[in-house]
Symmetry: C2
Subunit: 323 residues, 2 copies
């Protein structure tokens, strides 16, 4: 079923059908109605391949997620998808599969589809390999990175102030009387490094001795070891909420009370925080705001041929029952 078929039925030319489809002016009202009726009756749907070919645009944006297993990333992708869907742009969401060096392949996929814009989700994309891949494969399309920066003319960025958020959290614990606050990190992403940096700086400023776990694969083990080695610990900050869940379990098992004996903070203020018992206090990294800004920025770049911008969003503390 093509516009030529529609044209035949409606007794007009294909051009007219096309113009009706796209709400172009200069079509007689009665003709327009007639064509529209045929369109409805036949349940016609435009061939976007054909349209994309002549328009040199796919009416799609690409969302490249560094790692799907990360709940937080998925949520971000969907917030952006949602925004663009309401604007009539379809989203092509693709998983990079965690391997940053292999980014060329998904990038080429998106380039082949001629996406009008691209969002990269995940701080691991802040990497030289990604930078050169972007330059080689999509040097001209507007890109926005969520939580990472690259120095390319077509690549904007929206970041949350991980460093500041973590500093603030550390200071908050200090202010509420904690003097031995540890930090447990899961992996060394650029974003997590900023968090660690904030923690260390706050410790220095406050005269606290930092107790840092740089990476860990199992939050329970890490927490148990930390508590064994540092009996005086009265606060732990985790780089991600689900780590804190494991931490809480160990703390509970050891007979310590939260937050009386020890305060616990997570990061990201994910839905999980509200489901744990006690409800987890968390550093809110403003996912919704971040995603919204990404969408706005990308839209702006796509419309105005777009100048590069870098925006930072402040974090806040979502205080609940753990500290």
């Amino acid at each position: 079923m093509t516009i030529y078929d529609i044209a035949k039925v409606a007794g007009v030319s294909a051009s007219t059908v096309s113009r009706v489809l796209n709400d172009k002016p200069g079509i007689n009202a009665r003709t327009r109605e007639r064509v529209k009726r045929v369109l409805d009756e036949t349940g016609f749907s435009v061939n976007e391949s054909a349209r994309g070919l002549v328009e040199q645009s796919s009416r799609m944006i690409g969302i490249l997620v560094s790692d799907i297993r990360n709940q937080h990333h998925i949520s971000g992708a969907y917030l952006i998808e949602e925004y663009f869907r309401s604007r009539g742009q379809v989203s092509l969401i693709i998983n990079a599969g965690g391997d940053v060096s292999a980014i060329a392949s998904p990038l080429r996929t998106l380039a082949s589809r001629r996406v009008n814009g691209l969002v990269l989700i995940g701080s691991v994309f802040q990497d030289e390999a990604v930078s050169s891949a972007l330059q080689a494969i999509v040097p001209d399309i507007p890109v926005v990175m969520q939580n990472g920066v690259l120095d390319l003319p077509n690549v904007s960025a929206v970041l949350c102030d991980d460093r500041g958020g973590t500093m603030e959290a550390t200071m908050h614990l200090h202010q509420s009387g904690r003097r031995h606050v540890a930090y447990i990190n899961n992996n060394l992403t650029p974003s997590n490094n900023k968090k660690v940096g904030g923690y260390l700086e706050a410790c220095q400023e406050l005269g606290m001795e930092p107790v840092l776990v740089q990476t860990c694969s199992d939050a329970e083990d890490a927490t148990a070891q930390l508590l064994d080695a540092n009996p005086g610990l009265d606060g732990i900050i985790y780089s991600v909420d689900f780590l804190a869940a494991g931490g809480l379990r160990v703390i509970h098992k050891m007979g310590l009370r939260v937050p009386d004996d020890i305060a616990v903070l997570g990061t990201d203020d994910s839905p999980l925080a509200r489901l744990l018992d006690p409800r987890l206090s968390s550093i809110d990294t403003k996912l919704e705001q971040l995603s919204h800004e990404c969408a706005l920025l990308l839209e702006e770049m796509m419309e105005n041929g777009g100048v590069r911008k870098v925006k930072t969003i402040a974090c806040s503390l979502a205080l609940r029952e753990t500290g």
Copy 2:
């Protein structure tokens, strides 16, 4: 940058370039190499719109998710995306936004893109409105429903045995000595109705008096009321894990011990179950297997012109610390 440009540089015709691109036979090895080198050097990427136009296929499949906010659905979508990505098919993941009656719009989007196949995720799609929309808009493309059935020739289904799983869970609790088991449901989706059915049947079979909350928006309130009204309760099954999280909190607050005083089961065996304290026992609705079957079935239908099939997968119990 088109294949004509490549052709010019490589000193061949566009047809040859096309054949190299698609690994077609009958090209001289040296020519093939030369073209390939030019392809690499220029970083050429095929225009999928043009290709899609002549091939009458997009090399894309569509995944329509009933409601994005449902973590479980998202995970399912990604499992399917993953499978097809490994097969060179891109996925177009779209959110129906919860409103089943408005399914025509996303469906038309997918139809316009000429997706080669379609997966519907969410039992709410098991609905007359969806059936007629599918028939009207995509009567010819292979469709697989995850957790729902419709009686259309091009629509297969993969279901999990919610009813059986819930029966088994109820019986398990009975077997471990529970005599007053309640069921708390959040909403009346077809899938949840099957769960409730299984619970009721098990109760009857076991001679237990059913205590059922048909719908609830807040798990804590529902649980608190239930416990107040039924002091003898020694087991609660929730239709979804995150409800159980709220339940655990209330139970804990009331001073009851889990599982000694009361057993708690969730449903779906989501990552959350392993993060709660105590670790939540849950009815495993086999999301991974379900998604994998969906992918296989869709692939089969796309390749063989496909006959409709309906598969059911058994649930199992993931027993942990709550019962």
